[in-house]
């Protein structure tokens, strides 16, 4: 399946590589900016919020990873396992409430 997928992707790249026309001149090769000359390079600083989201993602994704195996054997664990996991989720929910109150989830 993976090999077939790579093959298809490779074929598509190859087709455009060999069949397309190629006319190179300076004005056309500029990155698109609605016809203007680009005045700022995109390789500069951007909002720290994106970084914050990535950190939050790691925290909650690891929570989800812990939840998956628990969910499979949830019924054999019974009430004890359920209460344990709810305490775990509550701790993380407290974290969510904290970042919420801190304003890390605000985008203006």
């Amino acid at each position: 399946m993976f090999a077939v997928a790579v093959g298809i992707a490779g074929t598509m790249i190859g087709l455009s590589e060999f069949l397309g026309p190629r006319h190179v001149f300076r004005e056309k090769m500029e990155p698109f900016e609605c016809g203007e000359n680009p005045i700022v390079s995109p390789k500069q600083r951007f909002s720290v919020r994106f970084y914050l989201v990535a950190m939050l993602f790691i925290v909650f994704d690891i929570e989800a990873v812990f939840l998956f195996p628990w969910a499979v054997i949830f019924q054999s664990l019974g009430l004890f396992g359920f209460v344990e996991m709810m305490i775990f989720i509550l701790l993380l929910a407290a974290g969510l409430v904290y970042v919420w109150k801190k304003g890390a989830l605000e985008w203006e």
């Binding site: 997928a5 300076r26 390079s41 994106f50 998956f68 605000e106």
Partner: protein
């Protein structure tokens, strides 16, 4: 692995690749235009013709494919050439291989050979889908970075933050379902839905609503298409892509739609099962044809039912796409972190209480 299994696997891969890239991708391109035309009271795609036959605009997909193959492959000055070429490849491969664990039928015995209609019957099928779909983020982010374009970079950044946020929520929405079916294997989950009252949608419809919202956001389609918002960012992360590389991003999006529909069918809509009829009863209904042919008929009906449900969910996604206005970016993040995430955690609690008190009878 014997010869028979190998042939079986190759046929199944051929079927799925043909179904997704050969049939659904061009058909969805047509549906996207035609449905928007119908919904907005326009005539829509009807110009491409073959000796005067327009076939209600179906030829547009073909014409597009031929046109885009012969388009110039443009790489802007200052772009990272290798990454620029790699990005669409990384975008399209996960969308193709995610379908490998979605069962499009049950298990059937044909002439002494057991056929299991899923390409890879993994024990961790649900996790596999989430793992693979998170790889698609790389393609988008690399595309945004490698293009050396401000629009692309902003699109890539928006896409990365949005996909991260909704990935978490998407993983959490299915936890309740896994508690209910006690398995991570897609084949097991589908097998446990042979009774109509055990379909995921019956007890878990709130999870379905949340899951579909997250999945559409993960696929960056309207109303969550801020990363490629044409009114703000030209085309977002694929502004600088042309020809087949553009097609690859665009195909990846359509195939992801099919994968989302397939996931929903397998998790919530009973896979290949016909309501109120088990596989054995279905095959038994054709027992006058002999055991092998009746199993074959049951298999074909199962695949047909699966595709029927798939198409219904694709139409639902398309209708969402053409009914909703785009959300503002802060609204998208608010919806993901402040509404869907707490709601899905609450849903895990509700399902837990429901199963432990016996209100929600688990199969």
């Amino acid at each position: 692995m014997g010869i028979a299994e190998m042939i079986e696997t190759i046929v199944k891969i051929g079927f799925i690749i043909g179904l997704t890239i050969g049939f659904f991708a061009p058909m969805l391109a047509w549906v996207e235009r035609k449905q928007s035309a119908v919904m907005q009271d326009r005539i829509g795609a009807n110009r491409a013709d073959f000796f005067g036959f327009t076939v209600i605009g179906l030829l547009h997909s073909l014409a597009d494919a031929i046109k885009l193959i012969f388009k110039e492959d443009f790489i802007p000055r200052g772009a990272e050439r290798a990454l620029h070429t790699l990005a669409p490849v990384i975008a399209v491969i996960p969308s193709l291989i995610a379908f490998a664990v979605i069962p499009f039928g049950g298990k059937y015995t044909l002439w002494g050979h057991e056929v299991n209609l899923v390409i890879a019957d993994l024990d961790v099928g649900v996790l596999y889908v989430f793992a693979i779909s998170s790889l698609a983020t790389y393609g988008v982010v690399i595309a945004g970075w490698a293009s050396n374009n401000n629009w692309s970079l902003l699109g890539g950044l928006r896409a990365s933050a949005q996909m991260f946020s909704y990935e978490v929520a998407m993983g959490l929405t299915v936890i309740g379902l896994i508690m209910f079916y006690q398995s991570l294997s897609m084949v097991d989950i589908v097998a446990k839905q042979d009774n109509f009252f055990h379909w995921g949608i019956i007890w878990h419809w709130p999870a379905f609503v949340l899951f579909l919202a997250c999945a559409v956001a993960e696929n960056k389609r309207v109303p969550f298409d801020a990363p490629e918002a044409e009114a703000e960012l030209v085309a977002g992360y694929f502004t600088e892509y042309s020809g087949m590389k553009f097609v690859m991003f665009w195909t990846a999006e359509f195939i992801e739609m099919v994968t989302i529909a397939g996931l929903c069918v397998a998790l919530f809509f009973g896979g290949h099962h016909v309501p109120f009829i088990t596989d054995a009863e279905l095959a038994g209904g054709f027992s006058f044809l002999g055991p092998n042919v009746s199993n074959l008929v049951a298999m074909l009906i199962g695949v047909g039912v699966f595709i029927f449900k798939l198409v219904a969910l694709l139409i639902l996604q398309m209708t969402i796409r053409w009914t909703m206005p785009r959300f503002r970016y802060d609204q998208i993040m608010k919806l993901g972190w402040k509404m869907i995430l707490p709601l899905s955690l609450t849903w895990i609690f509700i399902v837990g209480v429901g199963i432990l008190t016996g209100v929600m009878p688990s199969p």
